[in-house]
């Protein structure tokens, strides 16, 4: 495990290793995340507050450490989520594209294997996602939706904790070099 003296910033370019995944992992994991989002909340409303597609987007973008890959991963997962929601196509697509891009950019500078960094990034990107989605709803669709700062912060913390465990599990699906 990590001790308090562990570095959270990458010292050199060599440390920022790109994690590789088998193609089926890149396909099945996002699909399962989307299925989770549409299937599980009908049994537990609490589960509806978890944004699994977002967490998966953040994970793959962070670990791939490629802004282009992050952009496309975010766009595809976001569009798939749009297809299964009532929103116009592109709404979550744009938001998750930005999340993927910035997550990949962050992955180049931080040690994203560090649990604390993951917790922080999970919270930050959930907040970013919700805020940007709110902006899109108001600015592009003209819908008068509210943004509850306190609730978003609590849900961000919840998603961050779930992200910690989810990322740990997904680490096992990485290809070992």
């Amino acid at each position: 495990m990590y001790s308090s003296s562990d570095r959270i910033l990458l010292g050199s370019q060599r440390e920022s290793r790109i994690s590789k995944f088998r193609p089926w992992v890149l396909f099945v994991v996002p699909l399962l995340a989307i299925l989770f989002q549409i299937y599980i909340p009908q049994f537990s409303k609490f589960m509806a507050y978890l944004d699994m597609p977002l967490l998966v987007t953040v994970y793959f973008s962070l670990m791939r450490r490629s802004a282009v890959a992050g952009t496309f991963i975010g766009a595809l997962i976001g569009l798939a989520q749009d297809c299964l929601s009532k929103n116009p196509l592109g709404l979550y697509g744009i938001v998750k594209t930005l999340v993927g891009y910035f997550a990949a950019s962050v992955g180049l500078r931080f040690d994203v294997d560090h649990p604390f960094i993951r917790l922080l990034l999970g919270f930050f990107f959930f907040f970013f996602h919700q805020f940007f989605a709110w902006v899109m709803f108001r600015a592009l669709l003209g819908q008068q939706v509210g943004f509850d700062l306190q609730q978003t912060a609590v849900l961000g913390a919840l998603n961050a904790v779930v992200a910690l465990f989810l990322f740990h599990f997904l680490d096992r699906l990485r290809e070992t070099s």
Partner: protein, 387 residues
Amino acid sequence: MDTLLSRYRNVTILVLVIMAQLVLLAYQVKSGSDVPLIRVWAVTAVTPLARTLEGARSGLSYFASNYVTLRDTTSQNRQMREELGRLKMENQYLRNELSTADRARALSVFQQHTQSRTLAARVIGAGAGVGSKVVLVDRGSTAGVQKGMAVVTPDGIVGRVMGAYPFSSQVLLITDASFAAGVVSQKNRVHGVLKGQGDANVKIDRVQSEEKVEVGEWFYTSGDDRVFPKGMPAGRVKIVRPGSPFQEIFLEPSGSQSGVEEVLIVLEGVHQQIPDLPVASSVIHLLPAPPPDDASGIDAPSSTAGPATEADRLRDRYKALGAAQKHTFGEGAPGSKPPDFNAPLPTATSPAASTPPVAAPPAATPAAQSATPRPAAPPASTPPPTR
């Protein structure tokens, strides 16, 4: 130029991807139309997976519950005497039958009684997105479902179909903030617009402050929206706050109170009358019909004693007349000629032959009754009593 592009390659790609999606978004917002093909692909791809998951879950829970029941029964049989165990199980069975309403059976009964043509469907998923108020049901356009159709349960309205795909449909629940439907109150026939709030309650909008709406009053669909047939229960008033120019009325939706699992999609809606009587709030249990009396009983009238009342004599007379004219009651088509009830009785065949002839009103004959249109059944959607 090449160097510039390669230097800013990441940002260029990001901008291009976002621009493409913005164009897609702008097209949909501007034209007000959707991109159905992409949604059809996505939903059709996900439907079999969701169906498989649901099948596995229900199978597993069925097995688990049966296993637990079996274990309980075995331990009971070990611990208790045979007679006590049998009575307990019987008691348990009857309690379950009384206290838990089987949703599928309720839907089936509702389907048989409602005048609208409906299609039973099962919820197999929820809409993607945090706090989504959209559900996915396992019936699609191949089963006749179309966009805009009403979705109900025996308890009340649930939502409307917002997208019909080959094997599944998306249903916008009445609790969604973008949902609206025309409603009318039961007592004073106050018209309003039911709107979702994004939470468990819904709001009735556009009710003038001088209109009278009481807490506990029921609201029914008015049929004005051309989606829901008139007379389906929407919910019961929970809060009424005065306001200007419109009152603030909050409703507890009746259709989704106990969760939405099985629903009915209204394929062809038939408007119904809004019930005038207050809705029953408790179960009224009726005993079964009493068994026929024993003919050998002391007080039982003898079956050979002949007609006891004027009505019995009339019935016997009509039966005899029908038999003499080879008419079978109940089989005449509407408009067909009824038997002549003023004709003389056949000689010495009827026990009521000595009865003076009585002119029978034609409408009272069974044949005429069958030809008369039946009065509209009370709204089958009347909110069922509390279970």
